[in-house]
Subunit: 314 residues, 6 copies
């Protein structure tokens, strides 16, 4: 279970409150690279973990730390929103163009929905969607997902660092960037511990003789015949990284033939008869197109009109 | 910041693992009435709270407790999924119809996506969407939202209790139901503390003379003239609950006239000319429909066909 | 069933069209505190209502009134967008910085997707998600959800009122604010009618002897030992609001022990062997870490390199 | 299967990079009228197509072309974002108000999440949701959905064309607009081929004698008695478009009576007893309201207070 | 504004309550082809309509009718759920396999979240997402979207009709199917009125000389050289449907060359240096791969290991 | 741009059509570990790539291959759905319990929405949400995200392999599993090429002296004082993986003090006065709770009742 002491993990200070930065900071809270995501990801991985306790503890405790990061960032958003008071007070008809631009650049819901606070949304206002929380049960897969999360998270944090000149914000971000460094390192350390490249491919327990052995170390180039040659690199020659095969490269070619589905049953309500007649032939072949006899929308009209015209004129 | 001791808040025991119940339990994890929602809701309310510390602490500590409830439920899901091993092993072509029915009733992603673990989704597999986390900044509004969350949450927990005969699961749910009771009570206690009905309407700080005084204590019945009479009750006569007005009831009638929009500018790319001509008159009035002259899709075709037919026949 | 007279419930007038306000108004249409939400919420509650007709009528008729509010707000958005014609005409390369700022502050989709009209989205452009429509079947729970919806809705409306100086918009919002007052009151009136605090806890029909009696009136503080003391208030001493218990307060302590899951079955494809060996012990214990022998990613490489180096050098 | 030559289908040139336009272009990538949607829609229709090969090929090849349009638009976004370098460098505290306005008008995630690239989101930053991909299996229905997609898509493209003065962007859009013209035409051509109006109603294979024959060619006006008269037009008199009926028009009237649901079972946990007593009568009728005796929240309190007061005073 | 008489538009009767059908019916309520979608779509189109009143009334009144269809379907769901009482009562551990199968086939949230009522979700439990509501402001585009909505809606209704033998349900669906027929017809009637094919392409007001004239009536086949020939049909020869061009067909060829982006600025935090060195050349060319010197992850390790091995062995 | 030959990359054969497996296969199409995700992820990474062409080609061509995998899986779904004809024909009232169980286990929308075809949704019917497509612009971060995608994808494919006994399906999955092996390998090969651990941390270009140097190689344990000791492993001692620091481990302690926000401005509409008075003190301190005098909801009522009772009794 969980506890709180109501203190911040690291100091959060805003020297010059800036509502535009309050919008950008939302990405680190509710964005796909943000802290809600990693908190929930590590905790869900921990809660379903079926293995040694020390890995579970590592996940559980790191997920718990990430909760403190959401807390810090929410505080930072609220402090930056102090800078929006004037704009909100003057409103959309503010005389000063600066106030108008400020209101235009702000995130509407930080005022409308939360009265000057952070929201569990990204910098464009999209609510965080838990489908971005990955916990596959396979610890190897999850560790790579965690490295990726920390890598995109640290990239985001450095971009936020670039956007601000505020010493308080830079100090807070420098701390969060450091934590992302450590977290990248620690998930890589787990990868190393469980065998590194020797644990590949993930999952490692699938019997290799049941895997198709003709295509598991071959780069298949989907380039067209007159397109660029297959890209060459570490992936196209030499031993594979897992030491279990030799890389090669060849053009991708269709081995499966043409996919053909049977005609739909009447229950499918699929407009079958007309589609078939439109096809002038069997559904599977539909090959040559026989001479068409007036079947079209306009043609049909034309014919019946012609009849009526004949009647009319006669 | 936050801490964990890796222990469960209350014991979680499953006597007869049941994968069907593992699906139903998901609603209490990632459903809109579930624990992720209340955990995030109380924490976000706390993190943006601008008022007395003891209210903030109440939110923060209760949000922290809810994290422990997610943990308990995830453990319960994993234990129940132990009952699915056979079904998963036999697969979709299981000879036994019972195995097939079991696999048909299970949540596919509890095996496919998590390898026998809980997911941050509801009982139908929909990922939790953070737009369901309410933190308006107005403590009164938020307290009612919290009571509602605990009321729907307790209703859900009692329904889950109904569905199972497992003593371990019933014991766990009896604990969670008790916590929902307390949490309902504590948010109501805050409502009482801040003035109860005296703090209404929410927000209480909007100047009452700027509110339309003709419609703020009147039930407006949108029943049709031959429909049922306006429903009568506490809301239709007597003093209002906030003591600031007298309830009354009257039929809703349109006071705003017909909404009329100007024609769209060319930049709108709104098919203006044709729509207007289709309307045979000014866009605002569009009143009577003058005699139509062949403008329709079929008519147009008809006319030109008629011409051609004439030509052909002549 | 439903009828319309094509009239507005209350007059909607915009004196100074302002596209920036058109963006903010979206929150009252498609936001979680907005009118689509309450319309659908009351109607869905009514459509599944299993109780006295007058409550059902109250829900049905109020839901029907909310439809008229969406209509008013959509008209207000369209009228405000009249102010964007110039900006749209000049486009993103507008010479005037004012035009550029206006275009920057506008909601792109109000032009791109609707040609100067309202959308069923919130002020940040997020489409309304029907998971925010609560209809639990339990009338008590639903009434609290309805009070919460009207409380956040009225808070939103007053914030919008603050943002504008337009007399027409202020008049329209003063009407909507009044209706939110009444709707808050009427749902509270139903709560009172069905017993008020006597109907608690929700649901009231769960047998109280099946609820855990040790934790249903106790505030459990998740504060750390050196954290702040448990917050005290109406919720920590005295009789509970429902009169069924006595409030108390105590530190939350783990009663459930450590959650332990069995090893995963082979079908789980969970990288079991490597994780276990990484754990150097049984999955449940994983306690001390025995001397490591080259298991890591880099170590493995190192060893084989060493062998090769030896060969090479010898 | 699919191939690529790494070339653009049509040239993409940006003369004056404009980050504000980079935001607007997103609608054509990840918006509901955008290219991801049509690409996926045509491909999914093709992949499940059960009919003549030439229709399947038409869908498959057009879906493949749309992939090239996403590619072009992503390149256009990236080129336009070259214009944001200065704003990003100066950051949220930029001295120049122009830089601030530019940053305020930009889409935050085009920098924060992608480092100056396009995202699979719309112009308000909402991620594309695949529920907007329609593939019903009924080719007639799908063709109309495709015409609609190209019609809204072309409308969007012309609006984007209006917004920019950049010759390169105008040239690219003129190409995309032309392709939308052709695609509208080609789906209409399929409709004509499969019978046009003769293939209506969709699906055409439902036995007409099982359809309710009293209401299938009648416009039912839901106008109120004192509302506007039913709108008249091609749809209210004369032969129906499919030639199978005669249009008529009449007021909609309720034919189904009042919907009545039985009382909920105890398992529903629906607060039944209290709701019923609140209704003072049978749930189905709930007709007149008998004299109320203290049932309300405040009333209850009042009574017990009264007792206590009596005690106190005596 | 809107009114209700609390009556059903058409009778809803369930002879044999079937909880499995209650799940399937959800698709017609909250599915993308369902009634919430068309109700909201027609109403939003009406509320932003800038043209003749009779078209607006047509949209408004039809949208209002669709609300009555949601009402009917919700009642049908609730009546069908009467059949689930036994299964819910017995719970997940029901002795009878039939009860278990029934519970497995039911939608969990119809009990857990609504206590035996309908939800605004589709048949797989996904909440309706308002991004599926199309209202482009262009009446032509919207009419095609409306025809498509009614075509997929009627297809869905006939499939539901197939699934049930219940006379009451068949009768209700026969009514809804008839209304879908009429609604298809009426939107087509509007298309005819505003000019039919003469109003194409949509939008019709974009100046045709600004559209690329080389590609607006040409089918571009993305088939590979050795793939199938371009599909031939009404779309590949003859006059275009709008009478403004001649259809032709040709292979799609890349006209835009290779897309090249400049190197990212340092602010992009894009791992530039290493990617470039990995590319061993200029980012635009990245042509041949010069001899690699130890840059890889394993290589680097190898080298330093080699050094150490040398040291060790020496 | 892109081309298609209408052939399958690898043969897709179903020996015993199984509609239950058709549901499970959806996870590989529209699930977060599925093929739509990787196709879009690699293509979006390629389209915004700012670096050597051969990396861009690698991404572009692999993304193009993934499109062929969606195609294969959609064909597999349609073929498996052939097995559902009987169940659909018999409907929800099927006499045979096997038919009923089959219908209960099927995905409703594969019949209702697509007439026996695949959908862009996961195995629980949730539409794929493009927020799961990661393209950060930082090639290092993206490569780890790609490895993670292929690792979870291969895990999913092996789980699907477990579920089926169908030789055709096993053959197809053995091919897809092999491709996932290769794709894991190739993204790891890129990581090696760009420097492997030497390129860490990601992004590598952030100046290390601006990162907080006290916390970037330290595991911070959020365990409580009486909780488990910090987990030890490769991450807690020795050189960090990037060779730039030394791992250490220490308890996490709050360094940021208590977060305090100023009182909200009146514009926030935050119920300020009442919350403050409820707090009986200054918002920042809110320390001891002075004697309360009747402020609560019930208390207030009590008092006025008392007055009235006095009146009444006197």
């Amino acid at each position: 279970m969980f506890y709180t002491d109501g203190q911040l993990q690291y100091k959060v200070r805003v020297d010059s409150p800036n509502p535009l930065f309050a919008k950008h900071l939302q990405q680190a809270i509710g964005g796909v690279e943000g802290e809600i995501r990693v908190a929930m990801q590590y905790l869900f991985q921990a809660w379903s973990f079926r293995g040694p306790k020390r890995y579970k503890d590592l996940l559980l405790q790191t997920g718990t730390e990430e909760l403190a990061h959401i807390e810090m960032l929410c505080h930072a958003v609220a402090l930056n929103l102090e800078g929006s008071k004037e704009a909100v007070k003057e409103g959309v008809a503010a005389k000063s163009p600066i106030m108008q631009a400020m209101l235009g650049g702000m995130m509407p819901r930080q005022y409308l929905s939360s009265g000057m606070g952070a929201l569990p949304v990204d910098a464009d206002g999209m609510a965080f969607d838990m489908s971005n929380v990955y916990a596959s049960g396979n610890a190897g897969a999850d560790m790579y997902a965690n490295v990726a999360a920390e890598a995109t998270g640290r990239t985001l944090a450095t971009r936020l660092y670039n956007l601000t000149d505020d010493p308080g914000m830079k100090d807070m971000l420098a701390f969060l960037i450091a934590r992302d460094t450590m977290h990248q390192q620690q998930w890589l350390a787990v990868i190393e511990e469980i065998g590194g490249v020797n644990a590949l491919p993930i999952p490692d327990s699938f019997p290799s003789d049941q895997e198709n052995q003709d295509f598991n170390y071959t780069f298949l180039s989907t380039s067209t015949p007159d397109g660029p040659p297959p890209p060459e690199g570490r992936w196209s020659t030499g031993p594979s990284l897992d030491g279990r095969g030799q890389f090669s490269s060849e053009p991708a070619r269709p081995l499966g033939g043409e996919p053909i589905l049977p005609s739909p049953p009447p229950e499918s309500m699929n407009q079958t008869a007309q589609i078939q007649s439109g096809g002038h032939g069997s559904p599977q072949l539909g090959s040559e197109r026989p001479e068409q006899k007036g079947g079209g929308m306009l043609e049909t009209v034309k014919d019946s009109m012609l009849e009526k015209a004949k009647d009319k004129l006669s």
